[in-house]
């Protein structure tokens, strides 16, 4: 009985999952192309509602761009060519994974730099503290204290 109930619920869960809704029904040539499309629109940012990817966005422009990507795929363009097409028009902003070059280097390497310099700082600090505290620890309690 419970299994049946769950089985009945599954179609509704699929129906109401937003990711599926946002994607327009497009006549893909085959499953492989559909998969390429899904990966690509998930990696590209919507240029209007900027914290969504192209796949999730309901904005007009996102719809247009999905259609454009689909049509370019039908025309046999590669993923790289399509991404270049969009970057040329909308800038690197559309990439959720910006290129590993130029002014993006700081973006990519920044966290690493922080860890390295932070680590050096902590190491220096710890070493200095150890060096400072050693004499103090070694110093015995003064024996001539008059208890």
């Amino acid at each position: 009985m419970r299994k049946l109930l769950i089985a009945c619920l599954i179609p509704f869960m699929v129906l109401f999952s937003t990711a599926l809704w946002a994607i327009d029904p497009l006549p893909f040539a085959d499953g492989e192309q559909e998969e390429r499309f899904r990966v690509l629109v998930a990696e590209l940012r919507c240029v209007q509602c900027q914290n969504q990817n192209l796949a999730d966005s309901d904005a007009l422009i996102a719809k247009d761009l999905r259609k454009e990507i689909f049509e370019q795929m039908q025309a046999g363009r590669s993923d790289d060519e399509i991404v270049d097409f969009l970057v040329e028009r909308y800038g690197e902003f559309v990439l959720y994974r910006p290129a590993f070059s130029g002014k993006n280097l700081l973006l990519w390497l920044g966290p690493l730099l922080i860890v390295v310099f932070g680590g050096i700082g902590v190491a220096v600090h710890l070493r200095r503290r150890a060096a400072n505290s050693q004499p103090a620890a070694a110093a015995p309690i003064a024996e001539d204290i008059d208890w």
């Binding site: 240029v47 209007q48 900027q50 904005a59 007009l60 422009i61 247009d64 761009l65 454009e68 970057v87 040329e88 028009r89 909308y90 800038g91 902003f93």
Partner: protein, 175 residues
């Protein structure tokens, strides 16, 4: 000892300057990928003269403001009187890009609100908009006499933006 006092202070000021410089910036406004580049090559038709061709070559020779508008666009109503006034004073050549619109709706919108456009490019399906890197309406581009994009405004043009950003660049772009 001095170092120990100074370092946190220096770090604090560095962070403060960084954060301060970020205040007042609108992160939703993207720099145009077209800046200092020629407008995209296109050939389309005119909104008001159905079927009559217009292309990027036809717009060369005089600096102009390319204004993306549509009859469904509410913010366009805010900037429309501003654009209209500057065109009437002869300070501005205005070229329209009618974006994702019905021809009939666009024409009656112009009839109702006034039509300051020297030319209007028709882009019913937004395909041309993608080439221009448009994210919505209204958006405007300052284009110089050689067809180079000098500036882009996202959102309605105010008199202030017109005086400070657009007109000086149009004058500059005339040469």
């Amino acid at each position: 000892m001095i170092m120990r006092l100074f370092l946190p202070l220096a770090l604090f000021f560095a962070l403060a300057v960084l954060l301060w410089s970020g205040l007042g910036k609108d992160p939703s406004i993207l720099p145009s990928a077209l800046l200092d580049k020629p407008i995209p090559q296109f050939s389309s038709t005119k909104l008001r003269q159905p079927g009559e061709p217009i292309d990027s070559q036809a717009l060369l020779g005089e600096p102009y403001l390319l204004n993306v508008f549509a009859s469904w666009c509410r913010s366009c109503l805010i900037e429309h009187p501003v654009l209209d006034a500057y065109v009437k004073r002869g300070q501005l050549k205005l070229v329209g890009l009618n974006y994702r619109d019905e021809r009939e709706a666009a024409l009656s919108w112009l009839q109702f609100h006034g039509d300051p456009y020297a030319e209007i490019i028709w882009d019913p399906d937004g395909r041309l908009g993608i080439d221009f890197g448009i994210t919505g309406a209204p958006e405007s581009f300052v284009v110089d006499a050689q067809g180079i994009v000098r500036y882009k405004i996202v959102g309605p043009v105010s008199p202030e933006i017109m005086e400070k950003e657009i007109l000086p660049r149009l004058r500059e772009g005339a040469g």
